[in-house]
């Protein structure tokens, strides 16, 4: 049962990722990436991490992808790749390097492959969100606060960037900064 679920979800994730790569329209890319994120969330659930499943769906699929879609539609930048490619040799080289990366990863994983991971009572404790929260607020309290500061700096940075952009465009129009 686990295997069936895994293979279906993995196929959906791979299809989403490849379709994101080849879609010509940025809106379609964003929606395919959303499909991929949802599939990864289900994989988190299969890995007994219900908290990360919820985080993945709300933060990644919910917030980040909505931000992406919003910006794509705000800019109207769905299609920009109509001009001929300036670096012609880059695409085949990239494909070869990507295939090589996958091959190296698969070979190294298979050489170190082991039996199925442990289950049972210890696995039940592994998936407990309460334990995760306790660890987050005891062992990882300082990194947790640092992430809060990072998010704060990001918000301030976005505000500053947009403010300067507005001032520059106002100056170019000759109206000056309000």
């Amino acid at each position: 049962m686990d295997f069936v679920l895994f293979f279906i979800t993995a196929a959906v994730a791979l299809i989403g990722a490849i379709a994101m790569l080849v879609a010509r329209n940025a809106v379609h890319s964003a929606l395919f990436l959303l499909l991929n994120f949802a599939a990864i969330a289900v994989l988190f659930l299969l890995l007994q991490s219900p908290f990360l499943f919820a985080i993945q769906l709300t933060v990644y699929a919910g917030a980040i992808m909505v931000l992406f879609l919003f910006v794509v539609m705000l800019l109207g930048a769905e299609r920009v790749e109509d001009t001929p490619d300036r670096i012609a040799w880059q695409r085949p080289l990239a494909l070869a390097l990507g295939v090589a990366l996958v091959a190296v990863a698969v070979v190294s994983v298979l050489r170190g492959a082991r039996a199925a991971p442990p289950g049972g009572e210890a696995a039940a404790a592994f998936g407990d969100p309460a334990q995760l929260g306790a660890l987050l607020f005891t062992g990882y309290l300082l990194p947790f606060q640092v992430t809060g500061i990072i998010l704060l700096i990001a918000v301030v940075g976005v505000a500053v960037l947009n403010q300067r952009g507005r001032a520059a465009s106002a100056a170019r129009r000759g109206t000056g900064v309000e």
Partner: protein, 100 residues
């Protein structure tokens, strides 16, 4: 139970697709999406290893990665909007100077 190696192979494949996206696409928005895909693949590997060792620390790390990714997307998209305002393009080949 699905062996950890299956998850790692899937994660490596997704990561390679993300690398390919960064290398061959020229729309800056799709580039950002590919970076997100790579972060996600890394998250999947982290959770798979965490379950292999039955250690919650891996899950905490994934939480941090998601937070940093959220900050990165906010700043990156703001930069893109700023670039689009001055250069009127989202093509990374067109943006070759730092001066706005």
């Amino acid at each position: 139970m699905v062996p950890t190696s299956y998850y790692i192979i899937l994660s490596a494949t997704l990561f390679a697709i993300g690398v390919l996206g960064v290398l061959i696409r020229r729309n800056a928005l799709v580039l950002f999406m590919s970076v997100e895909l790579m972060l996600n693949a890394a998250n999947l590997a982290l959770v798979a290893f965490a379950r292999e060792r039955l250690s919650i620390d891996g899950q905490v790390l994934v939480f941090f990665v998601i937070t940093v990714a959220a900050a990165e997307v906010a700043v990156g998209l703001a930069l893109l909007v700023a670039i689009f305002r001055t250069k009127h393009t989202a093509d990374v080949d067109e943006v070759s100077t730092l001066r706005g």
